[in-house]
Symmetry: C2
Subunit: 264 residues, 2 copies
C-alpha cells in the first residue's frame, strides 16, 4: 500500500501549506490533522506546544505516514529539535524553508518576521537566519489579532488595515525589504499586509519552499510517487463543521468528509 | 479546615466574576482554575466543552471545594444540566442569573444577547428567558472578535468601535432596551458597547447576580463564612505568566503566585 504524507497544524492554518503540497506533489496521498480541540497554539507555552505536537505526531504515525510536515510555525518553532531527535520518520517544519527564502530574497539585509506570540518569543527565525547570514538585521513582531481576523474572514477593510498599520510600524521604521509571513494563517492577509508595507517589500510565504523540501526528501529516500491518483483525508480533534466551513478559504477548494477523532 | 469556593473558566474571563465574589464574600477562600492550555472554549463543540468542563471540576473537587462556580458562559451554556445531574457539589453557572436580571430590567420586552459562537448556538439564554417570560423578544448575536480584543487590550478606539458597530447592528435594529453581556470577557468592553448602543440601553453583566446566588446557596446550606481572613489561590493548565499578566485587567488587582498544574 502507498504511504501518505502526514500534515498537521493546530487548526486550519496548515491548509495553506497543504494547498502547495497538493499543487507540487499531485500524486501523493495526504493525511491532514487539525488539533481543533486545543487551537490556537500561538498563545501557549513551549512545553505545552511540544506535548500537543508529540500527541499529534503519534496520531499521524498510526495512519502509517512516510513523512511528517509540521505545517504550523508555532509548533515548528517550539518542537522541531525535539521531534528530529526522537522520531525516525522524516519531519519537515516551516521555519527553515522560510528563513532560507528570506535570506535569498533580501537586498539590504534587513528582514522582518511576523508571527504568533509563541513563534516570536522563541526567536527561532532569528537563530536560523543568523546561521545563514550573520550580517542580516532582523525585526520581529507578534501580530496576535491576525489569526482571529483570518478565521473570522475580516481580510480587507479599515479595521484590519488599522491593526496591520499598528503591528507593522516597527518593520516600516526598520526599513526591511523582506518580510517572512511566519504563521500559516497570514497568507490570507497578504493584500492588506502588502498595502501597508508597500509593493517593494517581498513577502515570504514559506508554503512553496516547504513543498520543495518535502519533494526533495521523498526523492532522496526513494519514496516519491510520480504517477497515479491521490486521496486527501482530513481529521480534526473537534468541530469538523467549523473546520470544513473555513477550509475552502485556506485550501482553495472545498473539503468534504472531515472526520472527528478522539485521539487527543 | 475551612472549605473554599471553586471557580473555573477557560482562561482569564472568569476573573470578572471572581472580582465580584471577592467583593460580596470577603471572608470566603477561593480556588480559581483557568484552563489556559485549551483556551478558548467559545469556538469549540458542545461535546468537547462538556468533556473539558468535567475535567476542570474534577480538579477543583480535589481541592476540596464546597461549591463550584462555572464562571464561563460557554461552559455554563453547554454543560450545566450535565453537571447538576452528575455532581453532588452545588454548581452555579452564569446564564440563569444574567437571564433573570435582564427579564427584570427590560421595559419594552426586547432583550439582546451577545456571546461566543458556542453560547449563541446553544440558545441557552433564549430558553432561560422564555421560561421566565414567554413574551420577551430576543435578538442574539455572536461577537467572536471581542475575546481577542479584550485579551490584547484593544478596549477603546476606532478599530474595536467599528467591529462593535458591525456586530451590534442587529440589536440596534431590533430596538432592544436591555443587552446581556453573555461572556465573562465582555465587561472590559462595556465603554465601547455603551457608546455604540447608547446610554438608554441597560447592559447586564451577570457577575453581581452570580455572587448573590452563590451567597444565597452557601447561606442556605449553612456553609457561609461571615468573618475571618481569606485566601485566593490561582491555578492554570498552562502559561502562568500570560495569566498573571492579564489578570489585573480582569480582576482589578494583581495576581501573584499563579501555579501551573498538569491536571488536564
Amino acid at each position: 500500500m502507498k504511504k501518505a504524507i502526514g500534515v498537521f497544524d493546530s487548526g486550519v492554518g496548515g491548509l495553506t501549506v497543504t494547498r502547495e503540497l497538493i499543487a507540487q506533489l499531485p500524486h501523493e496521498d495526504i493525511v491532514y490533522f487539525g488539533d481543533t480541540a486545543r487551537v490556537p497554539y500561538g498563545i501557549k507555552s513551549k512545553e505545552t506546544v511540544i506535548r500537543f505536537t508529540i500527541e499529534n505526531i503519534l496520531f499521524l504515525l498510526k495512519q502509517d505516514v512516510k513523512l511528517i510536515c509540521v505545517a504550523c510555525n508555532t509548533a515548528s518553532s517550539c518542537a522541531l529539535p525535539v521531534l528530529k531527535k526522537n522520531f525516525r520518520v522524516p519531519v519537515v517544519g516551516v521555519i527553515s524553508p522560510g528563513a532560507r527564502e528570506a535570506v535569498y530574497a533580501t537586498r539590504n539585509k534587513r528582514i522582518g518576521v511576523i508571527g504568533t506570540k509563541g513563534t516570536i518569543k522563541n526567536r527561532t527565525y532569528e537563530t536560523e537566519i543568523k546561521q545563514l547570514d550573520p550580517k542580516v538585521k532582523i525585526t520581529a513582531v507578534a501580530c496576535p489579532l491576525f489569526v482571529p481576523f483570518a478565521e473570522e474572514g475580516w481580510l480587507t477593510g479599515s479595521v484590519v488595515e488599522e491593526v496591520a498599520r499598528t503591528y507593522l510600524a516597527p518593520l516600516r521604521a526598520a526599513k526591511v525589504d523582506t518580510v517572512i509571513l511566519g504563521c500559516t494563517h497570514y497568507p490570507l492577509l497578504k493584500p492588506v499586509i502588502r498595502k501597508v508595507l508597500g509593493k517593494e517589500v517581498t513577502l515570504v510565504d514559506s508554503a512553496k519552499q516547504v513543498a520543495i523540501e518535502v519533494k526533495k526528501i521523498l526523492a532522496h529516500e526513494g519514496l516519491l510517487n510520480k504517477r497515479g491518483s491521490s486521496t486527501h483525508r482530513f481529521y480534526v480533534s473537534d468541530n469538523p463543521e467549523w473546520f470544513s466551513g473555513l477550509a475552502e478559504r485556506f485550501l482553495g477548494r472545498p473539503v468534504r468528509n472531515t472526520k472527528k477523532v478522539n485521539s487527543v
